[in-house]
């Protein structure tokens, strides 16, 4: 408790020292201490994201319950008194509709982030019904997805038809395989095949296991008169194989298989049997594969097992099976009555597609590739055209997408002429770490960067460029100068625009005591002036996943994004000589939870331009796509790369 109080005082003091709109506040701390509460409350209330609460449907209840027993920890969520943190999520006038409501005076904010079962209901944090509704809990959750498609298959009315025709009549594209082919009898799908081959059908297009939640529900009917030696079986699988491969054997990512002779349902993952259940009656089963890396089996609507699996690649839903005597006149084997396939889109921070190297070309008649770019920052203008700002030599370059290409960019200036270079006393030694933002209201680019004076002091500068301009025009003074924030120096900034219109920045700072911290700032005038919001306690966040902090040597390059009702913060992390990219999520910038179980969301590839490391992320979410540009490392030089993933723009529990 005392620790939390201590920090809340610090936050309050800092806030007051640099109240919003005051670039050079210069107000004596002693005077401000009493005046801290109100501004802090307002500021924090306004940056709470409105999306998270509603994002997860109706599966949220009393937010306070997980938090109720949070005594002894930072129960105020880091603020002056218990009422202050009510402003984080409470439905006060500054909150947008849909924000989760909590009881006044409860200390709940941290309780959903502390990896403790505060209310003793056996559920931690995002697993607790009282926290599930948070937008940050939706990120990376394989059950927090948006329904993308659904097909329902029935075999009634298909007597005498081929399975392909049966499904075509239901406007379902499928391809059958095997010899003899599967057939429909009594409204049930019977499988052919024998001990050397099997039959079945692929009933869906390729489904991306890294992005989509796939639920296959099927009604299984046991075999009749099947002795211990019979082979009859029927199954549903997710497989990465194509049709011709399936004829000989199924290599399933996940599989439910009903055996006639064994009279049991087998649940297999990656070829290994995980569980078996006796089955003698017709039953409904469901196979659910989540892009978060978990696969489940449901029996008559109840989840009976959930295990991890490798959610990579493109899979198809396959109905398949064997029969030793696959003729209509013999006792039927195991069969399928009906099948439903649902696919949903989730937001999985580690679910990136293939990586590509960015092509940065100069704007000269004979374009030449630039191969010494660093610290990229991606943004889109009002027309949807992408641009990348990057650091090179002692300047910042701007490059725009060529013909809408996501990976080909052309600089706005010549190879020797940066779009921005430092000339003011506070940035004349060096400018670096650009962060590009599109200012829709003023139809201009804004770039934030780190400017270093000859004395070594590092500030965050701001410069603007008209939509079609080649170069930036620097502001007269830094947007954030160390002296104004009582810190020693600033590092890389990451900026995003909140749906409500204000701008949020996360930047690394070196305190006067020599500590390195990430801090959040807010601007209501499109980045001209900034007020500090809070310190981001990265250490506590990473500790939630038992990450060995002692092995982390460096964290830097924050990149911030608002998506699906939460802030997502991406950062570079170094262990030894190797860089990777990690990510956190938060609902209000104060408390953070590691994404991807604390593992990097992007690591070195095994080959290519980023085979030894990745760093300097810049993440942008647009519609159903999240893009990430970054610096790839091969041990000799850095080259810029891009990857992307599909994600649900807003989550909803299915």
């Amino acid at each position: 408790m005392s620790g939390a109080k201590g920090r809340s005082m610090v936050i309050g003091t800092r806030w007051a020292t640099r109240k919003m709109g005051s670039r050079h506040a210069g107000v004596a701390p002693a005077m401000i201490a009493l005046a801290t509460i109100a501004p802090a409350k307002i500021a924090l209330a306004t940056i709470v994201l409105a999306l998270g609460a509603s994002a997860c449907g109706d599966d949220f209840g009393d937010f306070s319950s997980e938090a109720t027993d949070d005594a002894g920890t930072a129960t105020n969520g880091g603020f002056e008194d218990a009422n202050e943190d009510a402003g984080l999520r409470a439905g006060n006038s500054s909150d947008a509709p849909g924000v989760v409501t909590q009881g006044e005076g409860t200390d709940s904010a941290r309780a959903c982030y502390d990896n403790l079962d505060n209310n003793g209901d056996g559920a931690l944090d995002c697993q607790d019904s009282s926290c599930k509704a948070l937008g940050s809990c939706c990120v990376g959750d394989g059950d927090c997805c948006t329904l993308a498609s659904q097909i329902a298959i029935t075999f009634s009315g298909c007597e005498g038809m081929s399975l392909t025709d049966c499904l075509a009549n239901q406007t379902i594209s499928a391809s059958e395989f095997g010899d003899p082919l599967p057939f429909v009898r009594d409204g049930l799908l019977s499988l052919g095949g024998d001990a050397t081959g099997q039959t079945g059908a692929i009933i869906s297009d390729g489904l991306n296991l890294k992005e989509q939640r796939i639920a296959v529900q099927a009604t299984f009917v046991p075999a009749e008169n099947c002795g211990t030696g019979c082979l009859e079986s029927a199954g549903v699988s997710l497989s990465t194989q194509d049709t011709t491969e399936l004829e000989t054997r199924i290599r399933a990512v996940a599989q439910l298989l009903l055996s006639g002779s064994r009279q049991e349902m087998t649940f297999s993952v990656a070829g290994s049997v995980v569980m078996r259940w006796p089955v003698t009656e017709t039953e409904n089963w469901q196979l659910v594969a989540r892009p978060s890396g978990e696969v489940s089996a449901f029996r008559d609507g109840n989840e009976v097992i959930r295990v991890p699996f490798e959610a990579t690649g493109v899979a198809r839903v396959v109905l398949h099976g064997h029969s030793r005597t696959p003729t209509p006149g013999t006792p039927p084997g195991a069969r399928l009555r009906q099948v439903t396939v649902q696919t949903s889109l989730c937001d999985i921070p580690g679910g990136w597609a293939e990586r590509e190297e960015l092509a940065l070309l100069t704007n000269q008649n004979m374009p030449a590739a630039i191969e010494d770019a660093e610290s990229p920052s991606l943004a889109y203008d009002g027309t949807g055209r992408a641009a990348v700002a990057f650091e090179r030599a002692n300047g910042i370059w701007l490059a725009r997408s060529r013909d809408g290409s996501p990976i080909e960019f052309q600089t706005t200036t010549d190879v020797d002429a940066p779009a921005l270079s430092g000339s003011a006393p506070w940035n004349e030694r060096k400018i670096s770490d650009p962060e590009l933002v599109w200012d829709e209201e003023n139809n201009q680019w804004v770039v934030f960067y780190v400017g270093e004076s000859n004395a070594g002091e590092r500030s965050i500068g701001r410069a603007v460029a008209a939509a079609s301009a080649a170069t930036f025009v620097d502001d007269d003074a830094p947007a954030l100068a160390p002296a104004d924030y009582q810190v020693s120096s600033f590092g890389s900034p990451g900026v995003t625009i909140h749906p409500s219109g204000f701008w949020v920045m996360v930047a690394s700072v070196m305190t006067n005591e020599g500590n390195i911290e990430l801090r959040a700032f807010q601007s209501t005038d499109r980045g001209v002036t900034w007020g500090e919001v809070t310190r981001i306690d990265l250490e506590s966040a990473l500790a939630l996943e038992s990450i060995n902090l002692a092995e982390i040597d460096e964290v830097d390059d924050p990149s911030l994004m608002v998506r699906g009702g939460a802030y997502q913060l991406y950062y570079s992390l170094r262990r030894g000589t190797r860089w990777s990219i990690g990510a956190l999520a938060s609902d209000e910038l104060v408390f953070w939870r590691p994404l991807n179980s604390g593992d990097p969301v992007l690591e070195a590839s095994s080959s290519g331009f980023d085979r030894l490391g990745v760093r300097s992320p810049s993440v942008v979410g647009r519609d159903s796509t999240v893009e990430l540009v970054y610096e790839g490392l091969d041990g000799v030089r850095g080259l810029l790369g891009r990857t992307a993933r599909q994600s649900a723009p807003a989550g909803r529990f299915l």
Partner: protein, 665 residues
């Protein structure tokens, strides 16, 4: 531009690995400190006391983990526990031919200048741009190495306070550097003109005592590298650096002791020189004339590294299912092949290899649809790579065919699986007796897919001669707990002919499988009172939460101390299989089993391990393994790993030979 360092600058950031000495004792039960009760003798926890094995040669179990000296995982990196490898594995002199043939220059083709005798590199270009020469050949480090070189600081000369001259000896994975930048440094020893010494990793300075070499005096450096473990159990490399001034009293000065500088999975493996054992390149980097560098020499070591497997230099052929490699008839072995057990003995001047496996005539994948039967086959050879081996056309034990899904076949077929041979060798390492334990299917009408353990006490040496008799050894009713089926037996002698310890898998319905052990007397009568659970998956990590199985035990005795080593299959909840390792020591004969200490770096072998040289299919999940000490090269363990090869349209099974250094007790 580059980021602010958390370490060194930040008090807020708690601890930095590069500044911390590695934890030398990694016993999970004690949080990585030691195995002793808090406050008791040997406790290295909060109350103080020895941490880890303090002395690796004193014959005492200093930390109370029941592993003494070199058998203790703490001693892996100690020189006294490493055998010599190849002397002069890499040596370089500075004549032009050597420089051109053995070294790459970067970032340009400019070589450093040499002294007139060509015994010293004396100067890099004095233009403020770092330059380097990088050894073309990779130096294998994963089993240890020692690098020696001499260096002579040149004094301050005209280099002022802003002097940027330096000379560095670098361990690096790369073969080039960007103009104006340094090499990627996994570890570097950097000498300033005034003799000031610092050790760096990447751009970080590794804390060392403040040390300055005497200008113009020659110093001999020794860099010892050995495999080790980080506190989380991740295999890493440990570097110890020392030097002595030649003619300066010869006192050895320690610069760094067991510093964890790079993880083993970050080492080079495909590069020339490191095909079998992963390593790095050595380089010399510098600006100007900071120090003169003398000749280099690298010796490789053979430290015990449970994670280091390699393909054998001799006998490396992979044996395939569906082929005639083992000389078996297709009628019972056309499809599945696995669960190997291996015996190594001497036959005249050659090594005789006896291999038994389980095999079947039907696609094992059909096992989820119907019952599949297996039989046991025996093959033998003295030339591993020469196929076919001498194998029995018929099963050594079991039905032919063992499965009946295609053609009608008689009732009463019994599936036999997972053979394990226990060999008795005479003083000349020749085979004198063989016993066989295996899993035998029980009546399917009472329990589907259930097995008990049986034993054939006397097994004919000739592969074609069938085993005539066997008897039940361990039955489910004799095993406390909820074992639905008993599988994968592995019997080892308890010592002094008192009996055997039989390790086996306990399969539980809906629960992760466990490894158990039970004592059997010399006549193979089990003692149910001497049963215990040996390994549970949840004890050793997420990679084993789906269960452990397939134990492969090895017992070796010296001075009445028996060292028990156990390799086993670990399975994650997602079904991914890997191999893990545990060991213990006890007084011989082993009256009661000591608690086995899992290796903190488990799993020791994964399906994608470089030692396999790739996978000929889409994926190659591991199935089971056999291990035996090579009867001829007795500091080598020979493994046979059974894996499944999934290709686009078919599945096959392979037996892949691997080996590992393990000195005799």
């Amino acid at each position: 531009m580059r980021a602010l360092l958390f370490c060194g600058l930040s008090l807020w950031w708690t601890g930095c690995s590069i500044f911390n000495a590695p934890d030398r004792d990694l016993i999970p039960n004690d949080g990585g400190l030691d195995a002793m009760p808090d406050g008791g003798p040997g406790d290295g926890g909060p109350d103080g006391g020895p941490v880890g094995e303090q002395n690796c040669q004193n014959g005492i179990d200093d930390d109370g983990d029941q592993l003494t000296d070199c058998a203790d995982f703490d001693c892996i990196a100690q020189p006294e526990c490493c055998a010599e490898g190849q002397k002069g594995f890499f040596a370089a002199e500075w004549d032009r031919t050597t420089l051109n043939e053995q070294w790459l220059s970067a970032p340009s083709a400019a070589l450093p200048r040499r002294n007139s005798e060509q015994t010293m590199l004396v100067e890099f270009e004095p233009d403020d741009v770092p330059r380097s020469i990088i050894a073309r050949e990779c130096i294998p480090l994963a089993t240890g190495a020692e690098l020696r070189f001499r260096i002579t600081p040149q004094g301050n000369r005209s280099c002022d306070d802003d002097c940027r001259e330096y000379t560095a000896i670098v361990w690096t994975p790369v073969t080039n550097m960007q103009s104006g930048a340094s090499l990627l440094r996994e570890l570097a020893i950097e000498i300033a003109p005034n003799g000031q010494l610092r050790v760096t990793r990447g751009n970080d300075v590794v804390p060392t005592p403040a040390l300055t070499l005497t200008p113009l005096l020659e110093h001999e450096f020794t860099v010892q590298i050995a495999p080790g473990l980080r506190s989380g159990g991740r295999p890493t490399l440990l570097a110890s650096i020392s030097f002595r001034a030649i003619g300066g009293g010869d006192q050895t000065v320690s610069v760094l002791d067991e510093f964890a500088f790079t993880d083993q999975d970050q080492l080079l493996l495909e590069s020339p020189g490191c095909e079998g054992v992963a390593g790095l390149r050595v380089a010399i980097e510098g600006v100007g004339e900071s120090a003169h560098v003398g000749e280099f020499e690298v010796d490789t070591k053979r430290c015990v590294n449970p994670s280091q497997f390699q393909r054998p230099a001799v006998g490396s052929r992979t044996l395939m299912s569906g082929s005639s490699d083992l000389g078996f008839s297709d009628t019972w072995s056309a499809e599945g092949l696995g669960a190997p057990t291996l015996v190594s003995s001497l036959s005249g001047s050659a090594v005789r290899w006896d291999l038994m496996v389980e095999s079947t005539d039907v696609d094992p994948d059909l096992g989820n649809s119907a019952r599949i039967g297996y039989a046991l086959g025996h093959a033998q050879t003295t030339v591993w790579d020469s196929v076919p081996w001498t194998g029995g056309d018929d099963p050594k034990l079991g039905d032919d065919p063992p499965s009946c899904l295609v053609a009608p076949c008689p009732d009463g077929l019994v599936s036999l699986r997972e053979p394990h041979l226990l060999a008795r060798l005479n003083s000349g390492s020749m085979l004198s007796a063989l016993s066989l334990t295996f899993a035998r299917e029980v009546d399917a009408s009472t329990c589907t897919d259930c097995f008990d353990i049986h034993v054939a006490a006397s097994v004919p040496f000739a592969p074609a001669t069938a085993v005539m008799s066997s008897m039940p050894l361990v039955q489910r009713a004799q095993v406390p707990g909820d074992c639905r089926s008993l599988r994968d037996p592995s019997a080892v002698p308890a010592g002094d002919d008192t009996g055997y310890w039989v390790f086996f898998t306990c399969e539980r319905l809906g629960q992760p499988s466990e490894i158990h052990a039970i004592f059997a007397a010399a006549d193979w009568t089990v003692d149910p009172d001497r049963h215990q659970i040996v390994i549970r998956g949840d004890q050793i990590g997420a990679f084993a939460e789906g269960g452990v199985r397939g134990p492969e035990a090895l017992v070796e005795t010296r001075d009445n101390t028996a060292t028990l080593r156990l390799w086993f299959v670990s399975r994650s909840r997602a079904g991914e299989t890997s191999f893990s390792f545990a060991q213990a020591q006890a007084e011989s004969p082993i009256a009661s089993l000591p608690a086995l200490e899992p290796y903190p770096g488990n799993p020791v072998l994964r399906a994608n391990a470089a030692a396999f040289g790739g996978c000929p299919g889409d994926d190659c999940p591991l199935h089971s393994l056999a291990v035996v000490r090579d009867a001829e090269q007795n500091s080598t363990l020979r493994f046979v790993v059974a894996r499944r090869v999934n290709t686009n349209s078919a599945t096959s099974y392979e037996l892949v030979p691997l080996e590992q250094f393990l000195r005799l007790p």
